[in-house]
Amino acid sequence: MVIDAKTVPENQSIETDICIIGAGAAGIALAKALSTTKHRIAILESGSFDFNQDTQSLYQGKNVGIPYFPLHAARLRFFGGTTNHWGGYCDPFEDFDFVRREGIPHTGWPIQKSDIDPYYSEAADFCRITTKEWKNAYWEEQDKSPAFHFEDQRVDNKIIQITPSTSRHFGSIYREAVTAAENVTTYLNANVTGIVSNEAGRQVSHVEVATLEGNRFTVKSRQFILAAGGIENPRILLLSTKRHRNGLGNQNDLVGRFFMEHPRFTAGRFYPASNKIKLGFYSAHKVNNVQIKGHLVLARKVLEAEQLVDVQMKLTPAYDQKYVDALDAKSGNSLVYMMKSLSHGKAPDEFSKHLSRVVFDIENLPTFAYSKYFKDSLPVHHVELVTRLDAVPNPDSRVLLSASERDQLGQPRVELDWRLSDLDRRSAVRAAEIMAEEFGQNGLGRLQMNISESDREWPADTAGGFHHMGTTRMSDDPKQGVVDKDCKVHGIANLYVAGSSVFTTAGSGSPTLTIVALALRLADHLKKGMASS
């Protein structure tokens, strides 16, 4: 059932068994898994089924740390959440991601990979990943594009799979399954503005909800799950000050801290010895009808020996300008468009405009055709070494409430103070140095680095991957983390958190597959707990 929260009478109190705040990857995975139970489930989703500018602007905030994407552009606030425009890159975390790492502070999850493993397969189904095979050896064997192999094995290959773009938007894919479930009620346009505990402060009694139209109501539930994304999860906890002056779950000043991204930047430029170098393995391509992409990663033995964070390197070829310009040629693109239309038995729109482009720029067509159809074998000028780090958990990197800015509901907006550490820089530098040595040793070419340990700034193209992690991190110790190994907020009996805000470390994989696996695990935990109570 779907209810527009704008129609809920002012001050009404709704009762349910499980209340899920947010319908993104985590919230939808939870709702779908719990829809098979007899429990009443209420989803409180801030947006509707479509994008709405007013709702989206509730996500505005300020970046006060390392320059970052505008916060209202780095996530989406409607049913399906940020999966309404994610990239679909999926890869599970590795054993190594969960362990405490010598020389890297604040590492070590309270769970192991084996605790999540049983859920990865179902999570892959949920993310519409068709092959559950993640081993490089498998893909390399199937793949016609060769991967690099370096003798001393300081650098390995890593494969990611990409969810097909046609089945990527969880809001559309799972809308029917979620809204048709008899025990699930989805409240749209329902903004949770605070979570309120009982007087003792150890149990959540209800959440407060407001719509942009002005009506406010409450939802009481036996269990609550906060699944509003890695920046909004801590914001909502910090805003919940009715019984906890510093915010719910924030007795140890940890909520919002340890914000992590997967920083990426061009760490260097590799000049191949031959401009015929084959890099197809390292670009998105299909193997057995599955879209995959290869990366180079520092081998685990190197990470351990040199105490570095995980580093992934993407090889982005830059072709001679002649071919780059040719690919942009209007004449060629018009010709392709006209041919496509005609092959579908359709007259091309704006036929004369396209025809005149072709006629007046006919001399560029051969280079266009060559560039387009032999893209994989175009002469490579150089290769950008785009580096991505599993950044060090850093308590000073954090999400805060703004002291001055408020949203339309009158609540403090967020500020993001994203920070990276010297160890992150050292890891990137060492990765580039090691790559240079491997390229040189194997006669592949030379590398020019764009980063050095003495730099004070990060490279100008430093950005994140839109991955918001760590802000309600998981730890057995309430002094080190906000949630325990079951994703339950320390000290509160019935409040759970879902999403990458619970990640203790950023991990070597993209977050969403693991977000879904953890959500499915949490659903199991709740099912068991509620059955026994």
Binding site: Q441, R446, M449
Partner: protein, 139 residues
């Protein structure tokens, strides 16, 4: 960034981009090389002839000499390079250019394997190839 750094970057990228690992001249250069054998009394000459793009190499070589001024002596550099190939000048002269080229190529790879590298304007180069270019800069 000052002009000389930009120039140097351009030179290096031209050099490495066009030649890649082949910054050491290809064996076809041997004819030209052979005719210059007579110049062996000039330190380093057979070595420097192995580099194809001498102008670009000179720029990198200069950068190396600025970074390691104590090696700014052609005889010393020549001996050091030949020493790293387990050769002396006489043996080097007796070697066919292809063979010398091959030895250098292997040595460069070993440099990378053993992290005997230098960083010049961000470029990571084998120490041997950087010395070779320094030799050109001095010649």
């Amino acid at each position: 960034m000052n002009d000389s750094v930009i120039d140097r970057r351009k030179f290096i990228s031209n050099l490495l981009c066009l030649g890649g690992i082949a910054i050491l001249a290809s064996p076809q250069r041997s004819l030209a090389w052979a005719s210059e054998r007579a110049g062996l009394n000039r330190p380093g000459l057979p070595l420097t002839q192995l580099i194809r793009q001498q102008d670009s190499a000179r720029v990198i070589g200069q950068a190396y000499l600025e970074a390691v001024p104590e090696e700014g002596n052609a005889l010393l550099l020549s001996d050091t390079i030949l020493g790293s190939l387990s050769l002396d000048a006489d043996h080097a002269a007796a070697l066919a250019p292809e063979a010398l080229h091959q030895r250098l190529r292997e040595r460069v790879r070993e440099d990378f394997r053993d992290s005997r590298t230098v960083k010049l304007d961000g470029w990571i180069l084998s120490r041997t190839e950087a010395r070779l270019m320094a030799l050109i800069a001095l010649s």
